[in-house]
């Protein structure tokens, strides 16, 4: 930084070589570092795009820089695999889970933020503790549970959407509820108090006054849950064994598991398709993201 102090003083004219040295010391090295990091960041993305349009569609023929362009991989993916079903399943899980989790979490956060009741302290600490035990650690028990549940209620057994959905919703109250509670706390109490004086019920305060004011945190939690769900593998792989009930992630896994070389082009197209929703939500929610991340929510 001492260098920049010197350079900031526009006193006398310097020779071009001196100016170059100064620039290199002040900004040049920063550009050099960023070029290296950016190369590291984008080369896998470049490779997957190149493989997706590679006419040969094999792993061994895919280059970092595309050598040709065709849609044959995409066509094959549509023709040879139940791609649309997989995609619809993935989006169903991610969207439903995001929406319901936001609702359940916001309800609980409202109670924790605005009401004082017996068990509140225990509940808040409990949420912190549960956070340390991700649901999938109990996968053996969840599997055994649903072996029995599936016999009684085939509609929510294995290979059904609702069975897995129920399990996902078991994780709805989590650190996200904390995140929301923190945000609810920043909304002045006087707002809901005055509304209540005017005769609003607690439900009206929640839906009409609180929810619109905390939209940013709702958006962030929805984004995080959406991303986590669309990338969830463990629970889904245990629940969804039938090809037609699987998510895109599971489908892609099997696609390259059996035929690692030959199916790579199809996989690359699928990988891009799976990333598109994530990229899209990132794009639309970017102004909330760094704010929300620093509040303590974690992706991976």
């Amino acid at each position: 930084m001492s260098v920049s102090e010197v350079a900031a003083r526009p006193v006398y004219r310097r020779s071009p070589s001196t100016r170059l040295t100064l620039w290199a010391g002040r900004l040049g090295w920063r550009h050099a570092v960023m070029w290296v990091i950016a190369a590291f960041a984008i080369f896998p993305v470049l490779f997957v795009v190149s493989a997706a349009i590679n006419p040969l569609g094999t792993l061994s023929s895919s280059q970092l820089w595309p050598t040709g362009a065709s849609l044959s991989n995409a066509m094959e993916l549509f023709r040879n695999t139940p791609f649309t079903t997989w995609y619809a399943n993935s989006l169903f899980f991610a969207l439903t889970n995001a929406a319901v989790t936001v609702l359940l979490s916001a309800l609980a956060a409202y109670a924790f933020s605005r009401m004082r009741f017996k068990g509140r302290r225990v509940g808040l600490i409990g949420l912190l503790v549960i956070q340390m035990f991700p649901q999938f650690l109990a996968i053996v028990a969840i599997y055994l549970m649903f072996s029995n549940i599936g016999e009684l209620y085939p509609a929510i057994g294995f290979d059904t959407r609702w069975g897995l959905m129920l399990v996902y919703l078991g994780g709805a109250l989590s650190i996200n509820t904390w995140l929301m509670k923190g945000f609810f706390d920043t909304v002045p109490k006087e707002l809901d108090e005055s509304a209540q004086m005017d005769g609003a019920t607690h439900a009206q305060v929640f839906f009409r006054i609180m929810l619109p004011l905390v939209t940013p945190v709702l958006a962030i939690v929805a984004l995080l849950v959406f991303i986590n769900t669309i990338n969830e593998f463990l629970l889904a792989s245990v629940f969804l064994r039938d090809t037609d009930s699987q998510t895109l992630g599971l489908g892609l896994y099997q696609l390259v598991d059996s035929q690692r070389n030959a199916n790579f082009g199809m996989f690359a197209v699928g990988a891009i398709m799976l990333s598109l929703p994530t990229l899209a939500v990132f794009w639309f929610l970017q102004r909330y993201i760094s704010e929300g991340l620093t509040s303590g929510a974690v992706k991976g």
């Binding site: 930084m1 001492s2 920049s4 900004l27 960023m34 990091i37 960041a41 984008i42 896998p44 792993l59 970092l64 359940l104 309800l107 609980a108 409202y110 004082r116 009741f117 017996k118 509940g123 600490i125 549960i130 340390m132 035990f133 649901q135 999938f136 650690l137 109990a138 053996v140 028990a141 599997y143 009684l152 919703l169 078991g170 994780g171 709805a172 904390w178 109490k189 809901d192 108090e193 209540q196 019920t201 607690h202 439900a203 929640f206 669309i230 593998f233 064994r241 992630g249 896994y253 690692r260 699928g270 990988a271 799976l274 990333s275 990229l279 760094s290 991340l293 620093t294 974690v298 991976g300």
Partner: protein, 538 residues
């Protein structure tokens, strides 16, 4: 907390204990629309309850019916009482939490104390019935059946069912539990059942793919008799060669004369030489599963080896993503720089891609025969087959996926630190490095520590990171039942339960409980040091 009280003690009705609010307060009746929605939702919930009760009634599970009724009654009480306002908001999430997070954890603990595994799933009576039925042989007066193989539910994974017709108009459905009459089956000219309600008839190809299971499938009928298939389209009822004798609690093979005695501690029948019958039953084994992981030489070395690598992995990834993320954040932390926005977008790109797909992509880039790295660099490295190369590969892929998050967080934290602080230190004679090391970094760490802890906790159980790249491999001479070189505890658990030829639920559950314990210790240590707990008091 004190501030809180003073804020609520005045005119407000909120913030006081919920019960105090209702008398005299604004009536919870609310708008008409709200009331209608509430009644509709409760009606829907009641309908769900009725739907849940029917199968329980058919199966005769009275405690299950009691539970459903209790839950429905509780929900009604919460939403119609005026004294339960907080509960109205907490109940929906908490019900899910109890059913699908807390209950599974408790169930995991109880499973970890059993020998539950393939071959030890049911009760002793079921094991006996299955042994007897499996040992039947055909004799002169055996009943013959025309067989149709079907399944209960999904043709690939549902339980096998024998649809049998005896040629005289009688049709039956045989499961592992026994034989029941089948009503309304369609029988073709050859006597074969072609369609029925409730079961899925398998196509010949599907039958073929499950032929191994078929070999071991038998329908127990009367005492000492059972039905087995001979070929894919006929079955016979015969008398059991292996017969259970209650007086000695043993099974005698009437052909060879070998006697198998029940061992209620191990849950199987053993003969004098220690040979066991394959069908066993579930018994409690106390802490045996845990002791095996801790003290059995082979399992203990694989468990502790996995644990050490698990910690090394989580620490290394956390440290590296922090260093890279912070370095990028510092590099871009200048007031004016051409292309800053473009750089930002490029370096955050890995975070915006689907991590699941990207793990698979990295696995394929590391492929030894066709992978990008070996081809581009002209190498012959067996990336995922060599112990240290595989560990390097897993860590590299995770750094790639993880550093953008650290970059975003570190950028936010840096912007919150006044630039003047660093400049003041430099005026006092500190070099840029000293200023960073002693002024900026300590301030930064205050904001970053909770994030680092949660990143560590996340990576400690980062199943996808390992499973999707190496599946825990490469494996040593003991094969996949021991831990692999890159195995985390969670991937090891998953493999024991779902990816081995014989599923070992008991051991896997014990391993889960071990992870619970390790995580508990870590979280007690970290929780006591974070500010989060203080927030509870607010």
């Amino acid at each position: 907390m004190a501030a809180d009280r003073s804020g609520t003690a005045g005119a407000s009705s909120k913030g006081a204990p919920a019960g105090r609010k209702s008398p005299g307060g604004p009536q919870a009746g609310g708008s008409l629309g709200g009331q209608i929605t509430k009644i509709l939702l409760l009606g829907l919930f009641t309908a769900l309850g009725v739907w849940a009760v029917l199968p329980l009634y058919l199966a005769g599970l009275w405690w299950g019916i009691g539970l459903v009724v209790a839950v429905v009654a509780f929900v009604y009480w919460v939403y119609f009482s005026k004294r339960t306002v907080p509960a109205k908001y907490l109940v929906p999430g908490v019900l899910f939490l109890m059913a699908f997070q807390i209950f599974p954890v408790l169930y995991t603990m109880s499973t970890s104390l059993t020998n539950m595994s393939d071959g030890h799933r049911g009760s002793k009576d079921q094991a006996i019935a299955s042994i007897e039925a499996f040992s039947v042989t055909r004799d002169a007066d055996s009943r013959e059946f025309v067989l149709t193989v079907a399944a209960n539910g999904d043709p690939e994974t549902g339980e096998l069912v024998f649809l049998l017709s005896d040629g005289e108009g009688g049709t039956y459905a045989g499961t592992e539990e026994g034989l029941t009459d089948l009503v309304g089956a369609q029988v073709d000219d050859s006597g074969k059942i072609t369609d029925t309600i409730g079961y899925t008839v398998l196509t010949p190809a599907q039958v073929n793919s499950r032929s191994d299971e078929l070999q071991e499938f038998a329908v127990p009928t009367d005492k000492g008799a059972g039905i087995r298939s001979s070929g894919l389209s006929s079955a016979f009822e015969g008398n059991a060669v292996r017969v259970y004798d209650e007086s000695c609690d043993c099974i005698e093979d009437t052909e060879t004369g070998v006697v198998y005695h029940a061992d209620d501690e191990r849950g199987a029948f053993y003969d004098e030489d220690g040979q066991r019958l394959p069908q066993g039953w579930q018994v409690g084994v106390g802490l045996d599963n845990f002791l095996r992981f801790l003290f059995d030489p082979t399992f203990a070395s694989s468990f502790f080896g996995t644990l050490v690598w698990n910690i090394v992995f989580a620490v290394t990834v956390t440290f590296l993503v922090f260093v890279v993320g912070l370095a990028v954040a510092l590099t871009l932390h200048v007031p004016k720089m051409r292309g800053k926005v473009v750089y930002r977008i490029l370096v955050v790109l890995p975070y915006a891609m689907s991590s699941l797909a990207m793990y698979l992509l990295w696995r394929d880039m590391f492929n030894a025969d066709f992978g990008l790295f070996n081809r581009m660099l002209g190498l012959q490295v067996d990336w995922l087959g060599d112990v240290w190369a595989a560990r390097f590969a897993v860590i590299l892929a995770n750094v790639w996926l993880g550093y953008p998050y650290m970059f975003l967080v570190a950028t936010g934290a840096l912007q919150a630190i006044p630039r003047e602080l660093g400049q003041a230190a430099q005026l006092d004679g500190a070099g840029p490095w000293q200023a960073f090391r002693h002024v900026t970094l300590p301030l930064l760490m205050v904001a970053m520590t909770p994030i680092l802890i949660s990143t560590f906790a996340f990576n400690f159980n980062n199943f996808n990171a390992v499973w999707l790249i190496t599946r825990g491999g490469p494996f040593g001479s003991e094969g996949t039942t021991a831990g692999g070189a890159t195995d985390l505890l969670i991937t090891y658990t998953y493999r024991l339960a779902f990816s081995e030829a014989t599923a070992q639920y008991g051991y896997a559950a014990a391993l889960s409980v071990m992870i619970f314990l390790i995580v508990s210790v870590m979280s007690v240590v970290t929780l006591s040091r974070t500010k989060a707990l203080q927030e509870v008091e607010r």
